[in-house]
Each structure stands twice: as structure tokens, then as C-alpha cells.
């Protein structure tokens, strides 16, 4: 009889071990997921305040002693380290550097270093999300600000125009690019970019005209494809 129960205990033990193993695996998986969620949540939380800081910076004048502004960068970097595969965070970092460059310009300081940092961040964001017309447009704009009119400048503009020809923000950025350095664009990119800008005539023609005026290129504005069909043509006659 004793002989017959030994195999039962062994089987029971084996089953127990198997069950314990499965449970452990499950628990480990749950813990891993929880940690990942915590990291992502922490990344999100970390990014929340600096994003707000970026929005504020867009409306408030810059100050050299703005600690909150500098803290925002640290928070964004921390968020990006917690969630390295999130293109939004890299883009937000790029925005911070871009805004920092504008602040530096407003304070009459050098801004190229910040612009280059922004470029690195945007390239990183594009590697993670190559379909973002907005990010491509941002790269083109940074290249314009850095006066780097190379292949990347033209291809970024063309990509933006191709991927987001009807996105209002993209149209405005491309307007800055086109009116700021039209002759620096590769010939094959020009018509694509102009067409995307022209798509915005109906809804934001005034803003596009303002950009053209600032750049001294009202003549180019009046050559936008389809201008004649828009009320904006009244500016050109």
C-alpha cells in the first residue's frame, strides 16, 4: 500500500511545482507589466509639467532667471529616459530646445547650440515615427533657422508637404520655409511645398500672407498655385 502512495506523492509534488512555476511566471509577468506601466506613467507624469511650461513659454516673455523653464528640460529628459521609445517625448524635447533658441534670440544670445540640440531630438523622434509630417516640417524649419540648406533641408520640407499637405500647422511651418528660402529648396521640392502652402489659403490665408510679408516674399505669395481662386488674390491685384 505504501508502495502505491509514493508515486502519488511524487505526481502531486510535480504538479505542485508546475503550478508554482506557472504562478511564478504569471506573477513575474504581472510585475514586469506593472513596472513598465509605472515607468510609462512616470514618464507621462514627468512630461506633464514641462509640456505646460512649453505652452506658457509660447505666450510669456523670456526671463534669464526662469528656473521653472530650466526644470522643464530636466523633467523632459527624465521622461524620455523612462520611455525611450516614445517619439512624443523626443519631439517635446525638440520643442524645448527650439523654444530655448527663440528665448535666446529674444534675449539677444546665441541660439545655434539649442537649435542643433532640437535637431537631434527631432531626428530621434523621426526615427521612431517617420510618418509625422509635423516633425519633418520642424526639421526643415530648424535647418532654415540654422541656414543649412542641404539635402536634409529640402527632403524634410518635401516629406512634410507630402505627408501632411492639409495639416494647418504643417502648412504654416512650410510657409515659413518656402517664403524664407524658396530658392534654396531643390527644384523638385518647390512645387510640392508650394502646393501644401496653397492648400492653407482658404482657412489661414491671412497668416500665410503675414509670413510671406515678413520674409519680403509677397511676390511669391501671389504665385501660389490656385491663388486666383482664393479671396487672398485681392492682395495681389
Amino acid at each position: 500500500m505504501r508502495r502505491a502512495s509514493a508515486p502519488t506523492s511524487l505526481q502531486g509534488a510535480r504538479q505542485l511545482v508546475l503550478r508554482l512555476g506557472a504562478a511564478s511566471l504569471g506573477i513575474a509577468a504581472l510585475i514586469a507589466l506593472a513596472i513598465a506601466a509605472l515607468r510609462l506613467g512616470a514618464a507621462d507624469l514627468a512630461a506633464f509639467a514641462p509640456r505646460r511650461a512649453l505652452e506658457r513659454a509660447a505666450t510669456q516673455p523670456p526671463s534669464r532667471d526662469d528656473e521653472r523653464w530650466m526644470r522643464a528640460r530636466a523633467q523632459l529628459e527624465r521622461a524620455a529616459s523612462l520611455d525611450a521609445g516614445n517619439p512624443d517625448l523626443h519631439e517635446a524635447l525638440g520643442r524645448w530646445h527650439e523654444a530655448a533658441a527663440l528665448r535666446a534670440e529674444a534675449l539677444r544670445s546665441r541660439s545655434d547650440a539649442e537649435l542643433r540640440e532640437a535637431l537631434v531630438d527631432f531626428r530621434h523622434a523621426l526615427a521612431l515615427r517617420p510618418s509625422s509630417a509635423y516633425t519633418w516640417a520642424s526639421v526643415a524649419l530648424l535647418k532654415l533657422r540654422l541656414a543649412e540648406f542641404d539635402d536634409e533641408f529640402s527632403s524634410a520640407a518635401a516629406q512634410a508637404a507630402g505627408l501632411g499637405p492639409w495639416e494647418p500647422e504643417v502648412q504654416l511651418i512650410l510657409a515659413n520655409v518656402a517664403f524664407g528660402a524658396f530658392e534654396k529648396l531643390h527644384a523638385r521640392a518647390r512645387s510640392t511645398v508650394l502646393r501644401a502652402v496653397a492648400n492653407g489659403l482658404q482657412r489661414q490665408g491671412d497668416a500665410i500672407f503675414d509670413i510671406a510679408s515678413r520674409a519680403g516674399r509677397a511676390d511669391l505669395f501671389c504665385r501660389l498655385p490656385g491663388i486666383g481662386a482664393s479671396r487672398q488674390a485681392l492682395r495681389c491685384v
Binding site: A58, L102, E105, L141, L144, R145, E169, L172, I173, N176, V177, G180, Q204, G205, D206, A207, F209, D210, I211, A212, S213, R214, G216, R217, A218, D219, F221, C222, R223, I227, G228, A229, R231, Q232, A233, L234, R235, C236, V237
Partner: protein
Amino acid sequence: MNIRQIGLSLALALVVAGVTQRAEAAPGGYVHGVTGAASLQSGDAAPRPLKVGDLVQSGDIVTSAGDASAIVKLEDGQVMLLGVASAFRVTEYRYDKAKMGESRAVFGLLKGALRFITGVLGASHKEVVKVAAGAATIGIRGTDVTVIYDPASGNVTVVVNSGAVDLMTVGGTRTVQAGTYSVATRNAIPTQPVSVRAAPPSVLQTASIMLTMRNVPVNTPVSLEASAAAVAAQARADELQARAAADPQNGALKEQAAQAQQQATQSLDAAAAAAQKALQDALDAGGTLPATAAPPVPIAPLPSGAGPATTEPVLAPLPPPTTTTSTTTGGTSTGGGGTASPN
């Protein structure tokens, strides 16, 4: 031939010359926008109400009432903005597309405020563009200037928005740069230019209003007839649209408005294409592309207690390229009946 015969021949020659001159007077500009009650006087004829699309020629006088303003565009692209209670004369305008140096663009400010933005002529042959006001003559060196003339005091104030001008009287000449103003009083030498932000409030206010007038067209050449027809068509379409909106049950009016807009769009398309060609022709003939006036902002006076102002740009420092929509603030709205608006 005796003296009487010589005299008669001379008189006849003068008459013929006068008739020929009048026959050769051709339109040089058109009315791009009107707000309120303004008038146009040609030669000895009585003034008639100024309308969008009216053609303007040498000798014409444009006058605005107390609450009115007008925008006149010349064939070479020059834009004349007339302030309230003001009047200016097109003394002589002749745009020779082939030989721009032989063109003439002479204007007279009779009273009030006039802002002019030079076109191809001013950019290519500055010497042919002149504005007279009171005892002063203004020679153009650049793009964007506001002139204020008070006949009672004889003061001529020049506010340069961009570029520069020479303000001349028999007493002397001052070169007035962008961001500064100078005053010429009768025959005295004009005052030393100083920052416009230090100007008297009345000058500051007038200059700001002129600077922020809306619906200002681009200062590049046009095809006169096409442009005049286009703005007139759009003004008509806007009027019908307003009437249709006020009477939504009136289907016929709505249809009329839609057709008018269709015609206006076709007209605008043709005028825009003609303007592009006019610009290209001007450039091919050796003309220089005129600088575009940047989007203006009202001029901020100096803080009280501030010392003598150094020269500063009139326009706010241009921000770097931005993605946000900008809006033009303040200034005279040219909305309302008879005004063609791009909005």
C-alpha cells in the same frame, strides 16, 4: 508773317497741345478700397463719389471725408493710402514699362495724411517718384512713408516706416531714415530726425492708424483694367452677399449673390494672372522687385521719463518664423460697403 499771325499760330499750337495732352492722359491707377464717403474729381468736373474699381489718372484729386479712407494702387505697384479728412492729387503719373527711367510719378498731398508704399518705379528709379506737400517736397529713397500735412500751420511731418526719404524745403534738406520722423515748417530747414516713438501723440496716432490700415494690396505691378474690374466685381459680390444674408428667405437674391461671387472669382483669377505677368515684364525690362512692407504693428510711444530716443525701427522686431496664426491689431478697418476684402 506778321505778329498777329504768329500769335494766332502760337495760340493754336497751345490749344492743340492741350487737347493732345488731355487725349493722351491715360489711367494710371485704380481704387482698391474705400471706407466711408470719399470722392474723385477729374479735371474741372464736379467731384463724384469714389467707388472701388474706379480708374484714376493724372490730374485727379481723391478726397476722403471725416471718417473715410481710401486705397489707390498705381500701375507700377505703388500703393497710396489716404487717411481720414485728407486729399491728394495725382499730379502726374506715367508708367513707361519699356523705359522706366522716363516714367513720372508725382503726387501732391493737399491736406491730411497719406501713406505711400513704392512700387517698381520707386525701387528701380527713385528719382522719378516725388510727393509735394505744402512748401516741402519729398524724394523717395525706399519703401514705406507716411506724410501728414496741416495746411493751417503749414507743417509737413514725414514718418518713415521703412527705407528713407529726403525731405526738402528751400531752407534745406534732411534725410529721414526708417523709424524716425521730421517736420518741415514752411521754408525753414526740416527738423533733425528723431525716433517716431518720441513724436507728439497726434502724430503717433495718425502714423499708427496709417500703418495698420487693413487690406493693403501688395506693391507689385498690375494690369490696371483687370485689377480694377476684379476688385469692383468682388465688391459687388460682397454687397449682394450681405443683402442675401439679411434676407435669407429670398432665394433669387441668394442665387444672384452666388453668381456674382462666381464672376468675381473668375475676374480675380484673371487679374492675378495678369499681375504676375506685369511683374515679370517689369523685371524683364530691368526693374527691381520692390521691398514688401512687413506686417505692421501700432507704434508704441516711449515710456514717460525716457530720455531722447535713438533711432529705432518703427516696426516691432520681427519674430522668428512662427507656427501660430498672427492677427493684425488696431487700425482702420476697411470693411463695409464697397470695399473688397480678402477675408
